[in-house]
């Protein structure tokens, strides 16, 4: 039997050893997020896990740039954008990017039992060794030479003869590549043996370390030659997974990167987890000497369609070759997804009409509104029009008693007048008639909450179903009904897995359940006061300030736990925080549910609708855990 691969089941950055395979899956639109001024100052990239940091950094390694340069015709969008950014030129890579992962043994050093002074110096020495060796490796790769056998062909020629550069050469083992590589290997071996020893270690005998990053100084103040020819590419240091560092290591590294005497390009990526909760709740990024790119936040700023475009590209790039091969289909992945509402029948419309008439309660002016709404070119739009009429009738009924001379018809506007009411009616029709709401490209892309990993997970489920149909020799089209089933199942799984994946999960879950309860209660109100529905809460900025103040927290029962839980939830992208949101002449911090949490509860995921709560109330939620917010009805119909 033929076996099929699901291209969404592995992350792009994990296509580790096949550079071209990695590049083929990368949506070039990710480069649109990169600021223009990134070569003369540090760039700090932040996101939740799976936000695309590693993918972005890996695009700028010399291996990737070389591969793009060699396949410009196969990768036109990537090559065009990389040229525009200045990473590629007509001759090939203009940057010699080298990627180092900080998630290795650096943190071990901090916890080794050595004093902070010794551990700090060993940290800088080890990092120096690895930066220097990786830079040489990248230089060799850019010139088609082998590492480490050709390392002697690389020579650092100081532009300055100041003491600092001379000391850097001395500390790194020499000015020739082979000397530096040998010294780096010796350092690696020496420190690894100390760290991993199962027998007691005398740390005082292991105090030889560095007090600064000599490698950055050398790379900034020396010309690099390869076989006596000046290196064409500018070095670019790419550091990934900075969140794995201990606090003082992270501060020391960022301090070294921000040093104005360092002139090479240097990028540093970390998860939000690295930030203290105080910083996670901030609305602005500090500093002017460096660029900060927060992937999810950038995606929410004006122009976010670019990110939806990126996800669209990622989906189609991953699936197109497989669909073409397996199903001989020439369409894009998303073109196989039916739009919502296509599973409606005339009986559903009749049922919606009956409900509206029941709400009218025999009153002529209400029935006239229903009659006016009782039309539509397509069944789904027809049903939505009728359901909008019902909402308007409910709103009219809930108003205070009419003034003596109010005309009854004036209380109801035509359904077409309000897109918000229509949006709420759309959700109500789908929920009440058990029709598919969560279907179509916009929904699938939107559910990702700007997180690539989450997007791949949803698409992976949909593609798995496509493969099932292909196996049965059927076209890989996915009905709206099936999409809804898959998406709600993914949402259910996401809820269930939270306890296993999130630290402090009991408190985080309590918070989520309460936000979900508020959202469900508001969304289900007959008058749909916040169309199409609510999916978050907000606290005032004054309350946020109280939450950030340790003293104030001691006076609010549950506030310390809320502070911790919120930090974890935001860092893990389970709650999306939008501080400083302007509403009714005041400013609030909105806390939205991750969009993938919404389908489980039949909530919409459009942003902008939330209910304000006081910090005292929200903190008290953690002291009295809520009953799970999962719906009483079975999730999956038989």
């Amino acid at each position: 039997m033929r076996t099929y691969q699901n291209p969404f089941r592995s992350r792009a950055s994990e296509q580790y050893r096949d550079t071209f395979g990695f590049l083929r899956y990368v949506g070039a639109s990710v480069l649109d997020l990169v600021p223009e001024t990134v070569w003369d100052r540090p760039l700090i990239v932040r996101s939740a896990s799976g936000g695309g940091k590693t993918t972005l950094l890996r695009l700028f390694t010399v291996e990737s740039l070389q591969e793009v340069a060699d396949h410009r015709e196969d990768l036109p969008e990537l090559s065009g954008r990389l040229e525009k950014l200045g990473a590629l030129d007509s001759q090939g890579p203009a940057k010699s990017g080298f990627l180092l992962n900080l998630g290795r043994d650096y943190r071990m050093l901090a916890h080794s039992g050595a004093s902070e002074d010794i551990a700090s110096r060993l940290f800088l020495r080890l990092l120096d060794a690895r930066i220097a060796a990786a830079a040489i490796r990248a230089v060799l790769s850019a010139n088609g030479l082998s590492y480490p056998s050709d390392a002697s062909e690389v020579v650092f020629v100081p532009r300055l003869t100041d003491e600092g550069v001379v000391r850097s050469i001395d500390r790194l083992g020499g000015a020739r590549g082979d000397e530096i590589v040998a010294s780096a290997q010796a350092t690696e071996s020496e420190i690894a043996n100390l760290l991993d020893s199962l027998l007691p270690v005398d740390w005082s005998a292991a105090s030889r370390g560095h007090t600064e990053l000599y490698s950055l100084r050398l790379l900034s103040n020396a010309d690099i030659t390869v076989r006596n020819t000046p290196l064409r590419q500018a070095p670019l240091l790419l550091l990934d997974d900075g969140h794995a560092l201990e606090g003082y290591q992270r501060r020391a590294l960022l301090g070294a990167m921000l040093d104005r005497t360092v002139t090479i390009g240097r990028w540093y990526a970390e998860r939000f987890e690295a930030l203290p909760t105080e910083e996670l709740l901030q609305d602005d990024t500090p500093g002017r000497d460096f660029e900060v790119l927060e992937l999810e936040r950038a995606a929410r700023l004006p122009g976010r369609r670019r990110v939806n475009r990126l996800l669209h590209d990622v989906g189609n790039l991953r699936a197109s070759r497989h669909l073409e091969r397996y199903a001989r289909g020439g369409r894009d992945f998303f073109e196989y997804l039916e739009d919502p509402g296509t599973d409606i029948t005339a009986e559903h419309v009749d049922d919606v009409r009956k409900r509206a008439l029941a709400a009218a309660d025999g009153r002529a002016h209400f029935e006239a509104v229903i009659e006016a709404a009782d039309h539509g070119d397509q069944l789904f739009e027809h049903a939505v029009s009728l359901r909008s009429a019902e909402i308007l009738i409910e709103r009219a009924k809930s108003r205070p008693q009419l003034e003596l001379f109010d005309a009854p018809e004036a209380v109801v506007t035509t359904p077409a007048a309000s897109s918000g009411v229509n949006a709420a009616a759309r959700l109500f029709v789908c929920r009440e008639q058990r029709l598919s709401y969560y279907a179509g490209e916009d929904i699938v892309v939107g559910l990702a909450s700007q997180n690539v990993e989450q997007f791949l997970r949803i698409c992976g489920d949909i593609f798995e179903y496509m493969l099932g149909r292909i196996t049965l020799d059927e076209p890989p089209t996915v009905t709206a009904e099936r999409q809804q089933l898959l998406i709600r199942r993914a949402s259910e799984t996401y809820w269930r897995e939270l306890s296993a994946r999130v630290p402090h999960s009991p408190d985080v879950l309590s918070l989520l359940h309460r936000i979900a309860q508020v959202s469900v209660a508001e969304t289900e109100r007959k008058t749909a006061p916040y169309p199409p529905g609510v999916n978050g809460i907000a606290i005032s900025m004054a309350d946020r300030a109280r939450l950030l103040d340790p003293d104030a927290r001691t006076r609010i029962p549950g506030a310390d736990r809320l502070f911790e839980a919120l930090g974890v939830a935001i860092a893990r992208n389970v709650i999306i925080a939008e501080p400083n949101y302007s509403v009714k002449n005041t400013r609030v911090m909105v806390l939205y549910l991750n969009r993938l949490l919404c389908p489980r509860l039949y909530l919409p995921f459009q942003r902008g609708n939330f209910r304000e709560r006081s910090i005292t109330e929200v903190a008290s939620w953690l002291l009295e855990p809520a009953a799970p917010s999962v719906a009483a009805e079975p999730l999956f119909e038989p």
Binding site: N6, R9, S10, S13, E14, Q15, Y16, R17, L99, L100, N101, G103, R104, D105, R107, M108, A110, H111, S112, G113, A192, L195, D196, S197, L198, L199, P200, V201, A244, G460, E464, E497, S499, A500, R501, V502, P503, H504, S505, P506
Partner: protein, 363 residues
């Protein structure tokens, strides 16, 4: 699986259960008094080995290794307190010497074990001539791996002393222990063994996870750390008390193993659930055979992780120590147990197993 000449240290081994396990403790106490190293966790089996030792009436002292408090739930935290009180009562009643190895303030999850293990030796709590029993029933792998590793290292250097490991087996109780959260994956200090995920064309990374129930989040975290290892060899328990356990595990992790991780079903390795040395042999053979086969392609890095019973984890520990294999972990951030089980039920349904790892039987 064929034996290779490389399976040396425990080619012939000493493993006993129940009463026979207790007899091993008696034999080990013949030359010198026993030093029992144990954890102070919530596991209801925490004190089973100590109770056996005091029933034997042999001279002994207790080394209690403190564990990070961490948030527990259900009856978990209550059990920690109860175990501590019972331990204090036993120590007083039998006039035992007790030494506490505290948790270093500045150590993280992955290095706590190695720091505590080094302290055992540097503070002279354990010397090369002692008869040491490590009860791993209440110790997490990130602690007992370095503790056993350090003691094996000490024995190797000195050539003296006795080292035994006990574990109280109870699959039903294992199933009632719940966990939540998952920490970032990383190598256990003392078992890093050159572990690296940096790009190196010459390195071939192979991963052998000992798969257990409800371990999907841990497996995914480690897979993410390893960045697409070239080969994955899941290790499943068979034979087992529940003969369908391996099948159930395959069903539970089907999507993860075969779709996301793209595991070749022929890579699955089965080991005897009740024999640590079977897991040891399987991993050791896998390492030596693969290293030999892949020698002309590159340098093998066989990464081990454990997500199942303590018994199989102990086997992985021996293989990793002997062959210098990296061991990575992504452990839950908190543990709990919904209802504290009755002590009598725990005693009657648990079986103490004892492995003699170093000393008289091997001289």
């Amino acid at each position: 699986m064929n034996e290779t000449a490389s399976t040396t240290a425990w080619r012939d081994y000493v493993l006993r259960r129940g009463d026979a396990a207790v007899e091993l403790l008696r034999a080990a106490a013949e030359a010198r008094s026993l030093t029992l190293i144990m954890g102070d966790g919530f596991d209801p089996r925490t004190l089973q080995t100590l109770r056996s030792v005091v029933r034997l009436g042999v001279p002994a002292r207790v080394v209690a290794v403190q564990l990070p408090p961490g948030p527990g739930y259900g009856a978990g935290t209550e059990l920690v307190e109860r175990n501590r009180q019972d331990l204090a009562a036993l120590v007083t009643q039998h006039n035992l010497e007790m030494i506490e190895i505290s948790e270093p303030d500045d150590a993280d999850r992955l290095s706590i074990g190695s720091r505590q293990a080094r302290r055992l030796l540097s503070d002279g709590v354990v010397t090369a001539h002692d008869s040491v029993v490590v009860d791993i029933s209440a110790l997490p792998s990130r602690v007992f791996f370095p503790v056993i590793g350090s003691l094996l290292e000490l024995g190797k250097v000195s050539g003296t002393g006795e080292l035994l490991v006990t574990v109280s087996e109870n699959p039903t109780l294992d199933g009632r222990i719940l966990s939540d959260g998952v920490s970032d994956a990383g190598p256990i200090t003392g078992f890093v063994n050159g572990f690296s995920v940096d790009i190196d064309e010459r390195r071939i990374t192979m991963w052998a996870p000992i798969v257990g129930e409800r371990s999907a989040a841990e497996l995914e975290a480690i897979y993410e750390l390893l960045q697409q290892p070239q080969e994955i060899h899941p290790i499943l328990p068979f034979p087992a008390i529940n003969p369908r356990r391996a099948d159930d595990l395959v069903l539970e992790h089907h999507t993860l193993l075969f779709e996301r991780l793209d595991v070749d079903p022929s890579n699955i390795i089965y080991v005897d659930e009740s024999n640590a040395f079977d897991a040891y042999r399987a991993l050791t053979n896998l390492f030596h055979r693969s290293r030999e086969l892949l020698a002309h392609v590159g340098e093998l890095q066989l990464v081990v992780s454990t997500h199942a019973s303590k018994m199989l984890s102990a086997g992985a520990c021996l293989a990793a120590w002997e062959s210098s294999l990296p061991v990575v972990t992504a452990s839950p951030t908190s543990f709990g147990i919904e209802d504290a089980p009755d002590d009598d039920w725990v005693d009657s349904s648990s079986t103490m197993c004892c492995m003699w790892l170093h000393g008289t039987p091997y001289r």
